[in-house]
Amino acid sequence: MIKTTYLHALDYLNLSVDENPTLGIGAGSTISIGSSLSIFDVFKFKDPMDIAPTGFLSQSGFTTITEALLNGIGYFPPLNDENFHISPDTVQGAMSSVVKAMLTAILDNNGKRSTTVGIGSSRAKAVTAMNTLRYEEKRDYNSAPYNTWRNSVGIITPTSVSRNNNVAIVTTTPAHGLSTAFDDWGVVMNLNTGIASSFNISTSTYPNGVPIRIINSTTFAYENIGINTGWTIVEGTADVRVGWGGTSINLHLYYT
């Protein structure tokens, strides 16, 4: 029997209250208790840009030690194993990663912006899905999805940046040219002067770029933890990538 906490995780219940109006992340969670308990929640990929699978995600408590040990010996228990307590975050992250693996394997265009089932045998698609879930040294980077997933789709030129409440705003010259018909854009920032470099996001954190929100034809925003900074002239580039989506991948949940 699978633990209740795992079942909630697998039913997408995560109760994230993260909100950021500047980035357009406003859904959050709503919990009401009247004659009955009702929960409105939103589920989405934690990294909406990349395909690399998540590992153990426990952040605190004895569960962290358990997960570290399992990580070290390379063992993961079945979900009905009553001797181990894995964090629900790990379970939910793993399910999300499997979803990504299946989307890239099944849809054409490596799973990006497609609704069409791709050609190819079931075995070939299974190989792609499992290649997605391999650990770094064992991935075949010459095969799908890793052979093209992190490809650049263009370079744009930031000319000034600012940061307020951990949200960076970037202006570009000329216009960035990114279509607002899609909300799956991301960038790898590469600014190289003084404080501007603090606006760069490591690809260790976001291998396929940090997700952005387009504000207008010459401005976009992204989450960037740091001190508030006024408008600053910068030099460098922003390497544009495509990921899974922004609000369009928000699965709205209604539990009652």
């Binding site: 909630h8 208790i33 570290a68 070290g72």
Partner: protein, 418 residues
Amino acid sequence: MSFNWPDIPFTGAEVDAFVNEYKLIAEEIYYNYPYDSLELLTPYTNKEALKKYLEYGIIYAAFIVKQRAGNSGPGTDFDLNNSPYSPIDAMNTAEKRKNLMKNFGCIFTPGDMAASWGENKENDESLDPYDELSPEDEPWKGPIQDLMDSLTGNQNADDKCGGFYAKYENVNNNPPVDADGPLWSTILNLGEKVLGFLGGASGYLAVQLLRRYLQGTGGVFTENSDWRLASKSGVKSEIKSHINFWKNNTYVVQPLESGLTASETWRSYFGLLESDVVFQVRFANNFTLASCFGTATVVLSGDPVFGDFEVKRLIDDYDFFYGWEVIRSRIGIDFEGTPINDLSITSGSNRKSNGEKTGPCDQNATVCEAIGREGIHWAIRFPVAGSFGAGCYDKWEDHPDAENSGKPFSININFANI
């Protein structure tokens, strides 16, 4: 066991086609594709857990396709009362409701309830049985704690030899010792405790085989050797289940109908009957069996494809490419499963400059390099490589502390009377 697919709460041409293909691919992964689970990131190594991820994840995958398709209906309309996913499953039992309420805490504001949820759900002790290990348990101290800290931390792909190794840089020659003995001994005790929880007999056997290697016992491990906590019939049953599952896949269960195993010398040595059949079995899909045998030669009473069978014998050499390996001539009776001549034991291929166990030694090989530290399974390799230490030796007896450096042994288990 077949998949238990949930209903998809929305339809459409694109979604329907996608869902059908999703199920086909999931079944291909689960039933037919003999991927090596040891190459996967740890949360995906368990086949049954992976099956659950596939089952539960189909709704979200289908939802994304529905969103992209853009046709009307649930999945495109975000009026909260028209949620595209309105499962009653999350609250359909008293236990689940109790779980929710308990984890929310007692302050009924959304923010505080969500914060309590985040903290409490990781420690859901009252509803779910809990790991009996506690921080006070003896293994959690000294180098072990450091090792665990290292495992907990982010793995830096560019600094594979950092962290734990940097702190214990002398571990190459002098493994740190705690009050209970060498570090590997403590790791083994911890491993046995953990693997014991796994419930499988092969989990206990995996630790016992590793212990025998590290103790330098050598010789041949048979059904009459010290199995400690491992059940012989349990291991036999697990091997049979593995073969039964993969019997139609010749990559995993490969018939050996020619060559050495067909020779009279070989069959006579292992006492095969005329009707016995021999297979090379890959256990890579089964974590604990793979930890025992990797790939082994297995004698069966009949071909599993054509009916029931008995696991009669398992034959293998127990060695490590990051520790000591055995070179077999395969002449006479010098083949896997027979007694090992010490002169045939050489440093593992990861310590050889050309990556072959028969190649020239790399005298500068470090423990970390020998382990390779590929992925995240390196903790289980540490006792083997750490006991050997740094360097490379053409022969086992050349090692300055051979008796404590580990020693391969052969495996020849007669399951016929078990």
